[in-house]
Amino acid sequence: MVRVIVDGTPVDVPPGFSALQACEAAGKEIPRFCYHERLSVAGNCRMCLVQVVRAPKPVASCGFPVSEGMEILTDTEVVRRARRAVMEFLLINHPLDCPICDQGGECDLQDQAYGYGSGVSRYQEAKRAVTDKDIGPLVKTVMTRCIQCTRCVRFTTEVAGTPELGMVSRGENAEITTYVEKALTSELSGNLIDICPVGALTAKPSAFHARSWEYKKTDSIDVMDAVGTNIQIQARGGEVMRIVPRVNDEVNEEWLSDKGRFSVDGLKRRRLDRPWVRVHGKLMQASWQEAFVSLARRLDGVSGYQIGAIAGDMCDAESLCALKDLMTALGSPNLDCRQDNAWYDLSAREGYLFNSGILGIEDADALLLVGTHPRHEAPVLNARIRKRYLNAGRGGFPIAMIGHPQTDPTYEAELLGDGPDVLEKLLDGSHPFAETLKNAKRPMIILGHGALTRPDAAAVYDACKKLADQTGVVAEGWNGLNVLHTAASRVGALDLGFLPGTRGRTASGMLRGGVDVLWLLGADDFPVDKIGAETFVIYQGHHGDAAAARADIILPGAAYTEKPGTYVNTEGRVQRSFRAVFPPGEAREDWRILRAFSEVVGKTLPYDTLEAVRERMAEVNPVFRRIGAISRPEARIEGQSVPSTSVVSVSAPQEDSMEANPFRPVVQDYYLTNAISRASATMAECSRVYGPTRAVAAE
């Protein structure tokens, strides 16, 4: 540790800290524009000037390393005047159009000009103007406002791994551009909006919609992928206006994927806002009472074995728990949360988790990706892999992938092959990457749903497990055998045992007339046309997507922004979200719908309050007691009526040996993967601009 004296207060900071970090450690606020703690240091805005005793002039603290006994002064007349002068320079070419700027109210330049500026402008000359750039459907540019801090250039180059932005020309003519006008190809481009300290880069879809201080802000969890990104929902007048990330260093740092950020307009379109009942082949509007009564009548006399339930990818654990309890009460063993027919090793919780944790990526020193393309399946997690790749230096973090990626993974990855046959070569040691894994101290395997949704998933998983045992991927204090989920609800559902019970049918088994009555809880991403013609379908969900059109009864539920919910992310972290707005029309929170219906069929569920549901969840699986943290008990899936091995035996027929055909991507079009994003005009536009065909062409 190095002892530094900041304004007379001694602080101990690690060597290698900058003067700015030391000042922060001492609790001093240092104004800055170009400096960002997750990006490299540029030192070009000069706003962070401080005085260092015995230095001949003020120094830019962001790039000034600390040394033993250094004395830093952050609040002297010299510093104040220096900041005032820097601010005056920064504002020379800034248009000062705050009243019509979307950044107004949350603008670093505005705040710091207020706090550290001189208050008046002496500038009389002409200001420069810069032409705006078209960088795609998500980020709006007003380049005249740009102060050339180059945060965006560093973000795209370092974090996103798509070096497309740059600062061209020099001096007065310098400007940020893509040079050849084109749309940014990153799935993290929305973060440019947060990272831009001025109003140069703002959100295009929500341009001129509202002011930052008008929003009601609610903490929530993103459900567009299984990372469990911590988000803040910003609503005004009962409408979600925008979604921004919250900082959680263990999960998403401070990034949010574009789908999570910009799907908000999908929450207003194609919503199911009242119950519907199919009468003589035609869906008719109904009241809750009518819907419940007709549903109860239909269920009357139907054996529990003829009732099935499939859960979708964005369900909260509360509704999953309530639906499972209802199905159990109705005597049905036919439950499944795997609408994609994925196979998991259910013998222990480790079998389906991202065991090392997302933070664990930063400790890994070799990585094998099997049937996964994290850039599309979990962009924020992919940024973490890239971060590790960059921090490790050249060759320090060898990455190999099995299964051809649709786009550039944003890091150097050796493509070992297209199909699982490579795993055999790794197993018998004939492939050199086996040696790389073996030599690594903390090797990691990420197994994606490109592998787990295949008929030979069990064999592929076994091969990976064997490889993990051989090469020390699973060792004392380290479990690097990771499953990367794509569905936000999946781990929670597995933890609750939302799986077929004794002689229960799997998701695919419930199709083609496998059950007489099928309850779909927000499940849209399976071949809906394969539901048997005679099957009576109940769709409980929030969007009129594929399954709602097939339904005989529609029960309007709440989207993730409209209900308090519990979600378990891919690493098994239990996180809670809060209600930001109310569901539209007659729509209700999903667990309440199930609770209300249970009373109509005379199987009343034993809970009336959210707390009681959560208590029930914790009874089913104690992991639900530990909010925010990753629980790592060797807990078996509790509350499951059957030993989990029999679950495997009743699930889709598994083949013993691996097939030769290549892994196929699970995410065909990143921007359109669920009912909310498919309803979003912004996402449709993104798909048009960046869609699968374009991505292939760009490769």
Partner: protein, 213 residues
């Protein structure tokens, strides 16, 4: 004032010719393989000179920058940044002869205005940055060329023509138009930056210098 604009007219392809390839080999040999991005400036210059040889207009089109990015395994935008930062890389087509007049203070005091006026008169160019109607000349205003003792300077492509004035500028441009390349250097009676008309100091010490030779 608006600034950067990518020129509309861009060639579709660019291939380094054998002469350029030979130069590239020498340049790349100077840098470690994993640091070969350092060669971006020499390669841009090689590309610019090649285009000058091929088309008579020494500039770097986008396709050439993309090719350089590919060869040096760097992002194309990083090459654009470098090319647009340095004024000696032409990102727009120029005439066969690139007239670069220094108008910084010493040259200005010594009559660079006359040189500029003569350039405009002799070529028919209206303003800085323009190319003459016959495509032969492009006139550019440049900052200090570092040869102030021979001010004013007119740089034609890579050559300095020093101690210029109006009539000599016109004569030079006429010679260029005829396809001649007058020798570079001072256009008055002096050697390098030695005094005009021969030595002015230490004249009595002449024998000893001769002896030393």
């Amino acid at each position: 004032m608006t600034t950067h604009q990518t020129p509309q007219q861009q060639p579709d392809t660019f291939v380094f010719d054998s002469a350029s390839e030979a130069e590239i080999v020498t340049v790349l040999a100077k840098y470690p393989t994993e640091r070969k991005a350092s060669a971006v400036m020499p390669l841009l210059y090689i590309a610019q000179r090649q285009l000058g040889r091929e088309s008579g207009s020494a500039w770097v089109p986008l396709v050439a920058m993309d090719e350089i990015a590919r060869r040096l395994e760097m992002a194309a935008i990083r090459v654009y940044e470098v090319a647009s930062f340095y004024t000696m890389f032409n990102t727009k087509p120029v005439g066969r002869y690139h007239l670069q007049v220094c108008t910084t203070t010493p040259c200005w005091l010594r009559g660079s205005d006359d040189v500029v006026a003569a350039c405009k008169r002799a070529t028919g160019i209206g303003a800085f940055g323009e190319t003459s109607a016959d495509g032969q000349f492009t006139l550019t205003q440049v900052e200090c060329l570092g040869a102030c003792s021979n001010a004013p300077i007119l740089q034609v492509d890579d050559d300095f023509y020093e101690d210029m004035d109006g009539p000599r500028t016109v004569a030079l441009i006429d010679a260029l138009r005829r396809g001649e390349r007058p020798p570079a250097g001072p256009t008055i009676n002096r050697s390098g930056s030695a005094p005009e008309g021969g030595r002015k100091t230490l004249v009595d010490a002449e024998p000893s210098i001769a002896e030393n030779k």
